[in-house]
Symmetry: C2
Subunit: 397 residues, 2 copies
């Protein structure tokens, strides 16, 4: 994302006009079908101002007028919608399992998506392969005539908060990679904004941003895959991802759940990843790198050793969720990553522990909304695309 707002905000009249236009656009995006009058009420602006702003946005092709709403006593309002046919967003992800590319509209509707399985490879080779996949997606007829707003790329590791640099991706074997530069060399003519983000942070952002019903005020995404990561997004006006000073926020795989426990590849002992992660399960159950971990385990569920390992991992996952819940208190939790495909053997212990303990503090009975994404293949890529849109609206509109 990298929305620059270090300094204290001050602005001129142009800034104000942009601000108001962004507010209008964001409102219509979040609540499709709003009328000019609705917007004026909610934004505390006059009808005239909103009318003017809407006209510009219509002319620029961001909005379209929809049906006439039924009257509430007087002249009926005209519904406003995002123009979902003019633009396209691109999102991509490099994961341990392969490459994902998605093209979607402003409202997050998928136009086309591609996914290829691929073992981790060097950054430049990967960039070349990803560029090929991106080209294939762009050439799809669904994208015809649409204007590209940009490309977001998600990677499985911490990204510098102020520049598009991947610090480290242990499961890819990458370190200090300027991945967008490599990609730019392959796709010199691809326009729009480009940005790089961590996989879980992008996913978290997308899950919150592409929501038309009640948007939660904050959302935690936990990605359980080869490694464990998370992203927290929240904060009223423009959703903002917590990144931390070095982009390490959310690297929960190395929070300690078991002091003095097993050694982790990071060198410390008892990290969450030693208890619940793809690599820990492989190590514990002897699944080789050439096999698909989830498929293999799903076929070995009746082995007591496997069942027990998944149960233990599930409990650790539940503990991890509980700790995050107490540390961040998000309005909603979404659980994704390849390990969710393991289903109840892993998830039931996790959810049981979490639901049993989440309300210890206040003694309430309200359950925290927790959603599990069964197939999160394109979640991060979609989130990266969402970030492109948010950035564009913030800067342009």
């Amino acid at each position: 994302m990298t929305i620059t707002s270090n300094q204290h905000q001050a602005g001129d009249l142009h800034f104000l006009k942009r601000l108001n236009r962004s507010a209008i656009l964001e409102m219509v995006r979040r609540t499709p079908g709003m009328t000019r009058a609705d917007i004026a009420t909610r934004a505390q602006l006059t009808k005239a101002t909103v009318g003017g702003g809407v006209q510009t946005l219509l002319k620029q092709g961001w909005l379209v007028e929809g049906e006439l709403l039924k009257s509430s006593g007087g002249r009926p309002g005209r519904a406003l919608h995002l123009n979902d046919h003019r633009h396209v967003l691109l999102g991509a992800e490099v994961s341990v399992h392969g490459l994902q590319v998605i093209a979607c509209t402003l409202s997050g509707k998928t136009l086309h998506q591609r996914h290829i399985r691929m073992a981790p490879d060097a950054p430049d080779t990967t960039a070349e392969a990803l560029a090929g996949l991106i080209r294939e997606v762009i050439d799809h007829p669904e994208l015809n005539e649409r204007q590209l707003l940009g490309l977001g790329v998600a990677l499985p590791g911490p990204i510098a908060p102020d520049r598009p640099l991947l610090h480290l991706a242990p499961n890819l074997g990458w370190r200090d990679v300027w991945f967008l530069d490599l990609l730019r060399a392959e796709l010199p003519d691809l326009g729009g904004r480009w940005l790089l983000d961590n996989e879980a942070k992008a996913a978290a952002f997308g899950e919150l941003y592409f929501r038309t019903d009640k948007t939660p005020e904050s959302l935690l995404y936990v990605s359980a895959s080869t490694g464990i990561g998370s992203g927290i997004v929240g904060g009223g006006h423009w959703p903002l991802v917590t990144r931390g000073t070095h982009g390490l926020a959310g690297e929960i795989g190395h929070t300690v759940l078991q002091p003095g426990g097993l050694y982790c590849h990071c060198g410390n002992r008892g990290c969450a990843e030693t208890l619940v992660s793809g690599w820990a399960l492989r190590a514990a159950l002897g699944v080789g790198e050439e096999e698909d971990l989830v498929d293999t385990l799903l076929h070995r569920l009746q082995e007591p050793e496997v069942a027990m390992a998944l149960k233990r991992a599930g409990e650790a996952l539940g503990t991890l969720l509980l700790n995050l819940h107490h540390t961040l208190d998000p309005a909603e939790i979404v659980l994704g990553g390849s390990l969710t495909r393991l289903g109840t053997p892993l998830l039931t212990p996790a959810l049981e522990y979490f639901t049993a303990n989440q309300n210890r503090l206040l003694g309430t009975t309200q359950q925290r909304p927790l959603r599990i994404i069964d197939d999160s293949t394109f979640t991060a890529a979609r989130g990266a695309a969402a970030e492109v849109l948010a950035n564009t609206i913030h800067a342009t509109a």
Copy 2:
């Protein structure tokens, strides 16, 4: 705090003017001695706009002109400073050990402070006692003629994020208390803004806000006392405290550090508080409620049992710090609370574990700034006062 920013920001010309005035005021607050020209450059406004804004702020008594700076080739600029003599901020804290009240200037300079030791009591009785203490502080000659901007109150428990309601303070035995209402009944004529916040969140805010040298972009405050709490504050423009949907963010005392460990009073097992907290140390070492825990332990340091208990607690604290570091990646960490008075027997194991493991992920050698407050008696009260100022500037200026 409760800065209302749920809706998408939009604004009129008044809003813009206020925004720019706030920006000017905040800049001068953070960097005393700035000239109008400096501000114009940094805020990307014209000299004329800044000049106008500064004049209003001078007339309103927020700013004062200072010395003439030395010329950099042309006419020397006039230094601007916060007017530290016109206003006063009040901060108060109800802790397990007693009551604290502080009066300070806009720059955070203490004018007067009072502290009385007191065992936990019922909310209304406590409000009465606190009101008495506040009256004493107000009557102090140092506060003569100063205009009161408001009162911030810090309590040791989660506060509702949208209204001044204390949900629960286990160590005071309070639940669902509208403490400001109780206090208002005792102090009907005390003017300005009143606000309520969690003790650790207020402390975190104050530690970041009342800083004139390089302000870190985010700060984590960990409060180790009878219970364990924390507050994280960050985010460029206006520092914002992470509160969570139910105000539970930062309630790290009940993150699980030892699955299957000791039972906690919350009902769960292995919570951080069972390993490092005032009440856990009392329970483990048989220190009665009538004794001061820290004083008692400082006299019993040579007992192997005590030394070992402090070492274990310290290691748990280190683990807690490490987990927070990996979850939130704050630019700076501040450790406070009554337990810091225990000194090296507790803190050395904590710091050793933290420094040894904080850079496992990236393999860097940079140490995260970590400051320990030896005497944090007034830290939370001061922070609550800081929140009053931030709120006032945000709304008024």
